[in-house]
């Protein structure tokens, strides 16, 4: 087993089932951690988060649905695949509403388990990639001064330098300097790229994200950019 193989957490109060699933996932190349008590998993949430969790719905003390709610509350968005030994429709519906990526009805086949884990792994990688891009963007935006953030937002709105200057009460020459620094600090090669970056900041306004167990906070400059964009949009609507 390679140390960098994807890690899957298996949570089922039935120890033999946990062990058997763990064995199969090991055979197909995953690293596995098993938990017969969901509380133990919650206690380890920040320690090397898995790429996905496989959770039994019916468990004493904390059931799979409650576990998923607690995970989400703690900021974990690890994809979850549920297992169930019952066809209890309301439970199944609730599981899907809670955001289960897949639901496996026991007894399930090894193929269906592997397919569900592969889907969850893909989803997790996609989310992880998007999150890494966002954190990279935040790191660049963090370098902007408040005035540069303002200029970035106004330029991304399509305003000419002279209009930006009048908005922020400075000279066009100063705006040019700010604009140059913005493009340099954000490593934006064109106006189109700057617009895409600003749009992303506006689309994803969560205050923090967790990446590889480490919390990254949205920088103040990002809030300034979205505030300026909102103000500009409001003014445009009034003028229209």
């Amino acid at each position: 087993m390679q140390d960098d193989a994807p890690l899957v957490a298996v949570i089922d109060d039935d120890e033999p089932t946990c062990r058997a699933i763990s064995r199969l996932l090991d055979a197909v190349g995953y690293r596995v951690r098993t938990y017969t008590n969901p509380r133990d998993y919650l206690d380890e949430l920040d320690v090397a988060p898995p790429i996905c969790v496989l959770v039994d719905i019916l468990m004493p003390e904390v059931d799979g649905l409650a576990l998923l709610r607690e995970m989400r509350h703690a900021g974990s968005d690890v994809p979850a695949v549920f297992m169930t030994g019952t066809g209890h429709v309301p439970t199944v519906v609730e599981a899907m509403k809670e955001g289960a990526l897949d639901l496996l009805s026991k007894p399930f086949t090894a193929d269906s388990l592997c397919a569900a884990i592969a889907r969850a792994t893909d989803s997790s990688r996609r989310t992880h990639g998007e999150r890494r891009d966002l954190v990279d963007l935040w790191r660049q935006v963090e370098k902007l001064t408040p005035r540069e953030a303002e200029v970035a937002a106004l330029v991304a709105c399509g305003l000419l330098n002279k209009h930006v200057a009048s908005r922020i009460g400075t000279k066009e020459k100063t705006v040019k300097v700010h604009r140059g620094r913005v493009m340099q600090k954000l490593q934006a090669s064109s106006l189109a790229e700057l617009v895409r970056m600003v749009d992303r900041l506006q689309l994803e306004q969560m205050p923090f994200v967790k990446l590889d167990g480490v919390e990254a906070r949205r920088p103040r400059a990002a809030d300034i950019i979205t505030d300026v964009l909102a103000r500009e949009r409001s003014q445009s609507q009034k003028q229209a």
């Binding site: 033999p16 089932t17 058997a20 064995r23 055979a27 019916l58 059931d63 026991k106 090894a110």
Partner: protein, 241 residues
């Protein structure tokens, strides 16, 4: 040692003679009610079936690797044997009930079985918050004689009946108590009497429990004389070795 209850004057009492064999008349009832047990047994089969499928697939993969991991494959195959035994036990319990056969008489811990029955109820999200309180006597209860799977099922059915029957009085607890007597162990479930409809002492779950209790030479009494509660008393013979 607690004294037996003496306030059961107005009770509905069923005291079948001890060790009554399963008769054909009872068999018809059992067959009609077996569906309920089948549901429970089906749940017990799903887990080992899943484990067997996973272990078999894993064993095949371990053996088909360029350098076969035979030790891991052997572990998987050994686990399959264990899961096969687990399935056999679940099926045996069903077989014992449906076929005309005396249940097994083994040493069983009634307190542990009561706790397991409560734990099983807690695995159902819709019953997770059912207010059940279990009190166990100061002395550890001696073992009783019988088939653990069937006794647990009977206790489970009594508790489910109590939850169902007391549905009109939410928030009031269902109390379970295990008490020692000289030659028996008493398991009592007391639940709030429904406000609008009289407490029902029938129902498939409770009838199935009665059949299991009778087959073990145990007794069940349902006391509805109190204005506020219903008391279901089961008494199981102590294990004599």
């Amino acid at each position: 040692m607690s004294a037996p209850s003496s306030h059961l004057g107005a009770t509905k009492t069923e005291n079948p003679p001890l060790q009554v064999p399963w008769s054909e008349r009872e068999r018809a009832t059992r067959l009609a009610l077996a569906g309920e047990l089948v549901a429970a047994v089906t749940h017990d089969l799903r887990q080992p079936l899943t484990a067997i499928e996973m272990n078999l697939s894993a064993a095949l993969l371990f053996l088909s690797e360029a350098e076969p991991r035979t030790d891991r494959a052997i572990e998987a195959l050994e686990d399959i044997f264990a899961q096969q035994r687990r399935m056999s036990e679940a099926l045996q319990a069903l077989d014992d009930l449906v076929v005309c056969r005396e249940p097994r008489h083994e040493r069983c811990d009634l307190t542990a079985l009561a706790r397991e029955a409560i734990a099983l109820i807690r695995t159902d999200p819709s019953l997770r918050d059912a207010p059940i309180e279990l009190t166990v006597g100061a002395q550890p209860a001696p073992s009783v004689s019988g088939d653990a799977t069937l006794i647990r099922q009977a206790l489970l059915n009594v508790l489910l009946h109590a939850i169902d029957a007391s549905g009109g009085r939410p928030g009031e607890p269902i109390r379970g108590a295990i008490t020692n007597f000289e030659d028996s162990v008493e398991a009592v479930v007391t639940y709030p009497k429904p406000v609008e409809q009289p407490a029902s002492s029938t129902g498939p779950g409770l009838t199935l429990a009665r059949a299991v209790i009778a087959a073990h030479g145990a007794t069940i009494k349902i006391d509805e004389s109190s204005e506020s509660t219903v008391r279901v008393e089961t008494r199981w013979p102590t294990y004599a070795g």
